[in-house]
Subunit: 338 residues, 2 copies
DNA sequence: CTGAAAGCGCTAACAG
DNA sequence: CTGTTAGCGCTTTCAG
């Protein structure tokens, strides 16, 4: 195994100094076309590949951004990562990935690891466990760009990119009302996470604006999963005030609701069902599920752009922006009551 | 913004030298408990965070692995990445992510970027466009571990982790035969990719072993997508020799097939349908889709383990292993003919 | 237009 | 048990 060639090797080869080689390689103007050409040629001939580690050590910039997400197995996060990487790669940045697996401990380790790797910034979505956020504050303290998306936290003074979940809830509800449903139930999580809360608030407001009352008995707080959906639907089916539509906290829960309804011969859209997230499967189940799209790709792109903007400023936290994307209603069969 | 504290700062603080500090920090035994304790304490007090860049430059190891996949938006790849990152993080490695987007040019850029970042190895699945593989050979030439998964290439002499796609095809076919189907059609891609070809070969062998003939008119070569599935099924429905079961090249195509069949009141399992990949949606559509699971998580874990094994050897390519995982049959409603 | 030399932060051989 | 010192590969003043 021959040693990798460095700028020293190519300097020696050409009887110039490393500074000359460095300049030529970096396309500085203060260099004669002749030597520049020579350098470039021998570089290629000697199969030179720059060691970015060395320049990073010198410059203090790694051209690398850290991304922390709960799990790439969740389609939403995979999509966000997709567009972050796409956007940033075109701007000369690399992506260092870290999964928290919804564990605070992992998340803390994540920012530590990324910081030690000297990333130029971090884009993250918090784990469900996270309450104390001092680990995130440490990146702000270093004056490195930190951008939070989707799952943010009120104690962190950093830019964020989120969906307007109040509108999402409102939109889902209004859609059902528009379709003629009047007695709308809600199956969601008791977890005190902002986004779920906001959706619920939007739901309530929409009902109020339409002069519809909230049937407290038709609100089920549990978890979010297919199983929870079945459970929630089961509870509503036993209600003395059977709802004519059900909104679920996410698409998986909605799927559970649909399954339970079908088993009871109350196939949507006879009873309307709405979810949140627009998972891949939602278009393909029967009946196909109306839902609210979370704009994952746009969210990723916005995070990336935000980072690029921040990284240019001497003080990234000069004037903190919070981007709130509008959710998008996806109408499908499960609410298509005519 | 105060400068970051280095081992020099903490050395000065304690009136010792950097070597002492370095030793203490790295837990060397040749250091007195007293100084070690002092160092650790002041390190914490001064909020010290090591600059891994510097040690990497020195050691030539970055503790970082590069991962190249077509797209994280494809659930299979997202799952593989998930387990790669999970496994490697527990062994002190970070993951640098690069998406090729099925473009050869991007892929070439990917290995260049990762190599310049001095990754300790690369795990990759090739883009559909890739024919010439010299870019991958360059990583082997550097004697750095390269592991290919799922989409490999015969010209690359590197370890690989794949699924036995012949068995996958065989298994799918045998399952249909076991369920009583006798006249089995196939809707797949004309693209000459090994994995698709292997599945088709497995299909043919299984028919032969069961003394069933291949109805050439019931083999459709096109693309792989919902649309292609509908198209393929349409063609088979017009066949003079209507099949009683259809295998599709992947789950999306199978979904298209199912949709078409349902429109023609030939709801599976009346006509049996099988897919490949076990996408998330496959369990949730109606009827739920029988399919062959590709073992994404296991594949990722195996890639990671292979890397760890290789990175330990002085010559990683000493004795190249090819791990072939067995696919797993997932029986669901679409083939449940009784 | 080019050279000399210092230094980014850390490790490790060598010396005591 | 601790200190000295020479780099890792590259960038970047400061001189010429």
């Amino acid at each position: 195994m021959k040693k990798k060639t460095t700028i020293y090797d190519i300097a020696k080869e050409l009887n110039v100094t490393v500074s000359t080689v460095s300049r030529a390689l970096n396309g500085f103007s203060t260099i004669s076309d002749a030597t520049k050409k020579a350098v470039l040629e021998t570089a290629k001939k000697m199969n030179y590949s720059p060691n970015k580690l060395a320049s990073s050590l010198k410059s203090g910039k790694t051209q690398t951004i850290g991304v922390i997400v709960p799990s790439t197995q969740v389609h939403f996060f995979a999509s966000v990562i997709h567009s972050i990487e796409q956007t940033l790669k075109n701007n000369g940045y690399r992506v260092l990935l870290y999964q928290s697996n919804e564990s605070l401990e992992n998340e803390i380790n994540g920012v530590k690891t990324l910081l030690e790797a000297q990333v130029d910034g971090i884009i993250a979505s918090m784990s469900l466990e996270t309450e104390d956020v001092s680990h995130f504050k440490s990146v702000i303290k270093q004056n490195k760009p930190l951008i939070l998306f989707d799952r943010t936290h009120k104690d962190i003074e950093a830019p964020s990119v989120t969906i307007n979940d109040f509108d999402a809830g409102y939109m889902a509800t209004q859609h059902l009302v528009d379709k003629g449903y009047r007695n709308i139930g809600f199956v969601t999580t008791s977890h005190q996470i902002k986004i779920f809360n906001d959706r619920y608030e939007g739901f309530k407001q929409a009902l109020k604006d339409n002069n519809l009352s909230i049937a407290e008995e038709n609100i089920v707080f549990g978890g979010l999963s297919i199983k929870d959906g079945r459970f929630g639907a089961g509870k509503l089916l036993r209600s003395t005030n059977l709802p004519d539509a059900i909104i679920a906290g996410d698409d998986f829960t909605a799927l559970g609701v649909i399954k339970k309804l079908k088993e009871n011969n109350l196939v949507p859209p006879h009873i309307g069902v709405m979810g949140f997230a627009n998972e891949t499967f939602s278009a393909f189940i029967t009946p196909s599920l109306s839902t609210i799209d979370q704009q994952a790709n746009k969210m990723g792109a916005e995070c990336a752009k935000m980072f690029l903007k921040m990284v240019k400023k001497k003080n990234p936290y000069d004037n903190i922006e919070h981007i709130i994307l509008e959710p998008v209603l996806v109408e499908r069969q499960s609410t298509d009551k005519n």
